[in-house]
């Protein structure tokens, strides 16, 4: 019992000692997911985020201000996301990097009320691309709607036309998985292809029946796959097993990493599988070289997460766009006393932001918070991911129509 009391006292003390932010520091709230169902993403994305912040600080910060990324792991659960958001607010964070679709939904109203911009790269709420409806939510990268359009465009290019073709859409059966449906249905009308949907129930590791259905009963001409976590690798493995040509499969951005290929049984198995990317793959980008230099100067080995370049690079991109928004905000207010509203304006001034080719030329405006929605297609070929297309966006008018109709 005495031990219990001691523990409770210790706990109370610990709770009381969260360090307050110092004046010159600018805080970014960085939600993350190193544990939980999508930890394969978070364990590589979050180090990328932190390394870029570290790089910026090693170069003297943004206009003399140090940036601090306050990372909190939310385990892909909503209550910790809400709790850590309040903590960011208390620390005076000027932007929040929200992680996960349910979390984006849960925080949308709070972010808007508190006037703190939040980013949701490649997560849900595609309708948030409309900055007039969701002024404080920034998808900043291709939403599921743009991804769906791009996937259809890629299928069209591969098959030389879609008229009368059969497309199978295999998706994780949750709101994020179903989000692309309105765009796919519009495109179906426009391009005149046939489409059937195949839902994979959570946790998404059992899809033998669906895959068999796609390959042998429906006999799809092309497969668009929108899966998360462990399930992309299962899809690759299963499609391979039933003999479906992987060249005719395209995955969305969360089924596009090295880890997915490795979990599917290696590059030999996944040969031909292609996927969409909203940030570049590989280590051949100037910003990554700078990070390596920084580690070399410190006399440390470069972080092993860098090898998982898909998610690591996205983390770098995510941090960089937050920093860019802060830089724009500081330019407008050199005294350094910026608020969330200032960084929101900062986000909306981002133009021709390419990070040395790591990301597409992003331009965010008060009406377009998606920044263009450009993607690249990369394909597994000869033991690595190989770039197949340049940055492109597909069917912008269809996507714009769906955004407009969204409630």
């Amino acid at each position: 019992m005495r031990a219990t009391l001691a523990f409770l006292t210790g706990a109370a003390l610990a709770l009381g000692s969260i360090a307050p932010a110092t004046a010159a520091e600018i805080v970014i709230g960085a939600q993350c997911d190193r544990t939980g169902p999508t930890q394969t993403v978070g364990t590589n994305l979050c180090p990328g985020f932190n390394d870029y912040i570290k790089l910026i600080n090693s170069k003297g910060g943004v206009m003399g201000h140090t940036i601090r990324a306050d990372e909190v792991d939310n385990e892909y659960k909503v209550p910790p996301a809400v709790e850590s958001y309040e903590r960011y607010k208390k620390e005076g964070a000027v932007t929040v990097s929200v992680y996960g679709t349910p979390q984006v939904y849960a925080l949308t109203q709070k972010l808007t009320e508190d006037r703190i911009p939040g980013t949701s790269p490649g997560f849900g709420k595609a309708a948030a691309a409309d900055g007039t409806k969701y002024p404080y939510i920034f998808p900043i990268a291709a939403t599921y709607w743009s991804q769906a359009a791009a996937a259809v465009k890629y299928a069209k290019d591969q098959m030389g036309g879609l008229k009368g073709k059969k497309i199978a859409y295999i998706f994780y059966d949750n709101p994020a998985g179903r989000e692309p449906l309105p765009v796919l249905e519009e495109l179906q009308k426009l391009e005149g292809f046939e489409m059937r949907t195949f839902a994979v129930p959570p946790p998404g590791v059992e899809m033998g029946a669906q895959v068999l259905d796609i390959a042998q009963r429906y006999r799809a001409d092309f497969v668009i796959s929108h899966l998360f976590g462990r399930s992309p690798s299962v899809a690759i493995k299963e499609l391979k097993r039933v003999g479906f040509p992987l060249k005719k499969v395209i995955g969305f951005v969360w089924g596009a990493a090295e880890a997915d290929v490795e979990a599917a049984g290696g590059y030999g198995v996944a040969e031909g599988y292609s996927a969409l990317e909203f940030a570049g793959v590989g280590e051949d980008y100037p910003v990554l070289k700078e990070i390596k230099e920084m580690y070399k100067k410190e006399g440390k080995p470069e972080p092993k997460e860098m090898k998982e370049s898909v998610y690591y690079n996205r983390g770098v991109f995510l941090a960089a766009i937050h920093v860019e928004a802060i830089r724009n905000a500081l330019k407008a207010k050199p005294d350094g006393k910026i608020t969330g509203a200032d960084t929101k304006a900062g986000f909306e001034k981002i133009k021709n932001f390419t990070l040395g080719g790591l990301v597409p030329p992003i331009e965010i405006t008060p009406t377009d918070h998606e920044g263009g929605g450009l993607v690249q297609v990369w394909q597994v070929s000869g033991g690595k991911w190989v770039k197949r297309t340049d940055w492109f966006r597909a069917y912008p008018e269809v996507v714009a129509k769906v955004i407009k109709e969204a409630k």
Binding site: M1, T4, G10, A11, A14, L15, S17, I18, A19, C32, R34, T35, T43, C46, P47, N50, E71, V72, D73, E75, K77, V78, P79, P80, V82, E83, E86, R87, K89, K90, T101, P102, Y105, A106, T108, Q109, K110, E113, G124, K125, D173, N174, P175, R178, E179, L181, P182, P202, P303, K407
Partner: protein, 355 residues
């Protein structure tokens, strides 16, 4: 020392049946109320209030589950889904009909109660683990339905944005406002359960838990009371869902999945089955523990690890420590935190003459 019954003579039935027969208990309840309603909201910052708000929501849910599991002895792994029923009912009412919260909240609860009673029907025939699986089916069916029926879920995204609750024309949007809003319901919920357990219905629940055949022989309609237990418990769950919806401003079924049901079961088991205090302790413990572990790691972890490694270690260590602490608590006191609290109390009751 001061908490003892000697010299306290009850001269009326009313005094004997009072919720708090001892003056000290009445005083401490008054002090807690003053603390909760006046001192805490003035002293604490919005951040800490937001944590308390999460705890408040959890308390209502844990109390409800405790009625079913702790008092009536029926297991349910479907409470997450019952919460979502309440949440979506209220959200639809609020958005489509513009219903204020004092309409949508009870209706959300009632809808959850109706669904809960239906899911509870198998409890008449099956018990224990088998019933757990039956309620698990309820959880999955409700999840699937909300996920796929757009008429309920408001579109493929399955989420409905709800306006903030307002009372007398004032919109409650700050954490401080929410604190009072939620606290009022916590008090109502606690008073509700305490009184329920003193009624004929509550006694019937306990009788069913202790030995259902015996209960039937002394004239308790088992079918009726088991379903009633499911209904009341689901009503609480539904209200929890509504509160959570108003707190976040959005109804989204992904917040009410199986893990949520399990979390609530963990709360009442750690807190102590079959007691109001236990449910409250459990809700506080399970909600706060991850936060406490994280902040203490952030404060003291720097002494042991580099900052880069620390970021990787904290979330994983949090899971490990969380699991370990639950095991330790259950070994030290299988009857939960409530029993621990009673032990402390009875120790001080005879203090300093502990023999």
């Amino acid at each position: 020392m001061i908490h003892r019954e000697s010299g306290l003579l009850k001269t009326s039935y009313q005094a004997d049946m009072a919720l708090y027969p001892l003056p000290i208990a009445r005083w401490s309840v008054a002090v807690i109320l003053v603390l909760a309603f006046l001192v805490l909201p003035l002293v604490l910052s919005e951040y800490y209030l937001s944590i308390i708000n999460l705890v408040s929501v959890a308390i209502v849910g844990a109390l409800g589950l405790n009625i079913l599991v702790g008092y009536t002895g029926q297991v349910s792994i479907g409470h997450g889904a019952f919460m979502s029923v309440g949440a979506y009912t209220a959200a639809n009412l609020a958005v489509r009909l513009g219903a204020p919260f004092w309409v949508s909240l009870p209706l959300g609860g009632l809808m959850a109660a109706a669904v809960g009673a239906v899911v509870g029907i198998p409890s008449l025939r099956i018990k224990g683990l088998y019933l757990a699986i039956a309620t698990l089916a309820g959880q999955l069916i409700i999840e699937w339905t909300i996920n796929h029926v757009t008429w309920i879920s408001g579109g493929v995204q399955a989420s409905i944005e709800v306006p903030r609750p307002s009372l007398f024309g004032i919109q409650i949007s700050s954490q401080r406002g929410m604190y009072f809003f939620l606290l009022a319901f916590v008090v109502l919920a606690i008073v509700g359960v305490m009184n329920l357990m003193r009624t004929r219905v509550g006694r019937a629940f306990v009788a069913i838990r202790d030995q259902d055949i015996a209960a039937e022989i002394i004239g308790i309609n088992i079918f009726r009371y088991k379903l009633l237990a499911f209904a009341i418990s689901s009503f609480y769950a539904g209200v929890t869902g509504v509160l959570y919806t108003y707190y976040l401003g959005i109804a989204n079924y992904e917040q009410y999945q199986i893990t949520t049901s399990i979390d609530y079961l963990a709360m009442i088991i750690i807190g102590g089955l079959g007691s109001v205090q236990g449910a409250v302790f459990g809700a506080i413990f399970v909600t706060l523990l991850p936060i406490v572990i994280r902040t203490s790691m952030e404060t003291f972890g720097g002494l042991l690890f580099s900052s880069g490694a620390l970021l990787n270690i904290i979330p994983n260590l949090r899971l490990i420590v969380f699991g370990l602490l639950i095991i330790v608590f259950l070994i030290v006191e299988p009857e939960g935190l409530n029993r621990l609290w009673r032990n402390i109390r009875s120790y001080f009751r005879v203090w300093p003459f502990a023999y």
